[in-house]
């Protein structure tokens, strides 16, 4: 039951893109077309889940026992960078169709702050391992949801009469803002759910 709250919170209320401000560069960069948005979203789900699990292990098996908490940033980013490259090679060898579909997005993900951000958030919020994994999947799904929604809007904007100065990223940002406003409507849903579970 707690996981349901966690998932709802991560996807809708604390959406990683629209409320936590993470992963905005690829959000605006890859939301121009629906097919790239879907590809990017799936790649992020894939990588974020693995990355969070691995960094969680690194944090709790290595950094904490060695009292090296302050090296978290550098350790995580190294692990993620290596992991992404590893995944890329792995997919290329063993799942060529998946590689063709997601391959071009993988290098983009290393510098996607949503991945590092989620990994760090899991640690900062003192989650346990299953929670961290569920949180990562949910966050990435939230990312994908927002990305796909925005891509749908932007595909329509392409053929609309947008004032010249607003064309491109500017209108994309404003659309993201309006979406974020809409997602505000979910605030409190988790509270009531928790209350419901609690009592």
């Amino acid at each position: 039951m707690e996981y349901i709250v966690l998932v709802i919170s991560a996807v809708l209320i604390k959406n990683i893109l629209l409320a936590e401000y993470l992963g905005n560069c690829p959000f605006l960069g890859t939301s121009k077309r629906m097919d790239t948005a879907v590809g990017m979203g799936l790649a992020v789900i894939f990588v974020m889940t693995i990355a969070t699990a691995v960094t969680y292990v690194v944090q709790h098996m290595v950094l904490v026992p060695l009292n090296l908490g302050y090296l978290q940033t550098i350790a995580f980013i190294l692990v993620i960078a290596a992991l992404v490259q590893f995944v890329e090679m792995f997919l290329r060898k063993f799942a060529p169709p998946l590689y063709v579909a997601l391959g071009i997005f993988l290098p983009l993900i290393t510098t996607n702050c949503a991945v590092l951000g989620t990994a760090i958030l899991c640690i900062r919020r003192d989650m346990n391992f299953p929670e961290a994994v569920v949180f990562a999947i949910a966050s990435a799904s939230g990312f994908t949801l927002a990305l796909i929604l925005l891509a749908g809007i932007r595909e329509r904007l392409e053929i609309s009469n947008v004032p010249r100065a607003l064309r491109g990223t500017a209108i994309g940002l404003i659309m993201a803002g309006l979406m974020s406003l809409a997602f505000f409507g979910f605030v409190g849903v988790d509270g009531s759910l928790k209350e419901f579970i609690q009592n």
């Binding site: 550098i74 692990v79 290596a82 792995f90 009469n161």
Partner: protein
Amino acid sequence: MLSAALFLLVLGLVASVALAIASRAFYVWEDPKVLAVTDALPGANCGGCGNPGCASAAEAIAAGLASANICVAGGFEVAQAVGEIMGQRVEEREPEFSWTSCSYGVGNAEPIFSYNGASDCHAAVMLYGGSKLCPVGCIGLGSCVKACQFGALAIGDDNLPVVDYSRCVGCGACVDACPKNIVALVSQTRRIISEYVTDECTAPCQRACPTGIHIPGYIREIRNGNYEEAVRIIKEKCPLPLVCGYICPAPCELSCRRNFVDEAVAIDPLKRFVADHEMTTGKHIDPYKCTDNEIKIALVGGGSEGLTAAYYLARLGYQPTILEAKPELGGILRYVIAEDRLPRNVLDHDIQGILEMGIEANTNVAMGRDFDVCSLLKDGYDAVVVTSGGFDSRKILKPEQERYDAAIPGLFIMLDLLTAFSQREEIHLGKHAVIANGGLKALELARKCRDMGAEIVTIVSDQPLSTLPVDFHDTKVLAEEGIEVRASATVAAMRGIGERMDRIALEDKDLTGDISKKRTIIDADTLIVPAGRLPEMAFVHAAGKPETEGERVRWQTIETFRTFPKGGGYGILSSPEPGRISDSSAVVKSILSGRRLARAIHQNFTDGTITPIPNLVWEAADILDVTEVNGVNPSERQCPTVSDVEGDSKTAWIFPEEYPGLDEPAARQEAERCLQCGLICYDKNT
């Protein structure tokens, strides 16, 4: 401190070793050539090469399915780099650029409704083909701009696309994106050989001009004071601007839309004004020239047609040589037109300008006397073009010549032949003679040919049998006589070895104007043309055979023009006047013939066939136009009008001594009168 350093050391080690192992374990073989080529390509994935992206283009190149220079975006440098990887030699491709023809934006063109829908050209076109009345008007919503991967296109302030030529790579994505076919890719070559078609934006004056000068374009430059640019625009289509400025009958002025309001713009005097300006500067303004090639072309005849053909061939990069029988170049312009109509310094200036394009000219050499088609082909020319134009053919034969077909093997002119028959001369016609057209006279001639020893005589007519004189109808009887009638057909080619013609290709003609391409080859020794002078013809080495057989050259003709507006002709001797691409009644018309000859030669050496031009703009073409002009204030024409017989305004027949031409203020003022017409648009605030 130690633990931190150790930790990072181990982490770095583990990560890099793991990756190193992984890159081994998960190694996927990739053609190093594909990788290298992918690196060399620009990576814009524009699709201009026809592959979905640069990576697949690289695969195609590496697999040998595509040539090293397929990347239009990367240009020569990329092609060279790719060629180096692939071990191929790369030849430079002519750059192509995006080009748009519409000049009246949505705000200025004639609207049929105002459009407020989705901002996309394709969407807008779905509604009655767009908001403009003009069928070839730019929608202005920028689908081409969105398609451009290189940022070379933008929609300008007047809602028309503007090309940034420094960025355009000629990939053609915009061309595919435009629903109105307004954006086109042009190379200099294509611009040089282009003909106007009905579905592009042309002004009425432009269409009326046989040479097709972009008249609104040069008048606009005169307005802005860019006289050099004006000359350059004129020279794009007309190599003799000054000559035309003096003697052109100016059919353009008859179709000027100003005639609906007051009087035509003085188009021709304006041309004379800028061309005079060029002459006073003493420097020739040279139009664009393509990269040189090594193909040598001989042009027989140095009149306006030969000069023009040479001019265009030189611009296309060929090496033309003019062979003129007279002591000086110029033909009718020099030897027929009165000097007080066309001062010779004017002619010399223009001819000098043409020769400067890289043309060799030999005078005092005559066809039939000093050379003939075979000798020229043997002397290393790749093509021989007969541009003898308006001159009577008989004069170019040697006086002591016994054979009348010495200049062009196997070709007789009906008049020559009839004269010879009447003088009871012996003429060897061979076994099979072909008479092209000629009406009833042809039948008489055919019988005479039989008498002279020809076993079979074929009469070819491009008309259907039913419209031929009744004498032709009983083909059976005629066949018994040895006379064969081929109606609805045309002579498509001649072929021969040395001084003998051996074959003629006939092509069935479809009355709907369609080319059926049904060819029949007949063994023929003689072709008789029922005309008083030689047609324009172009000869090349025979295709698919060794160039020579012993000492004798194999040769064949190529078509000089092919189009199918109704009634228009094709084949080497097309009607109404056999062999004429156009007539020589005015210098502008022979300029057109010259240009089309150059086009034919160029197409022959590049594509191998002469492609027809559908929707060609010609006199009887069906084209959208306006019948009245509104919102234009009358203004006075700045130069005298001379009326011709029908009372239409004309300026051409003014003697230069009487009229010195427009001075600069008058020219600028006259240029302001131009309505800058498009297909149906015009400037309403003039």
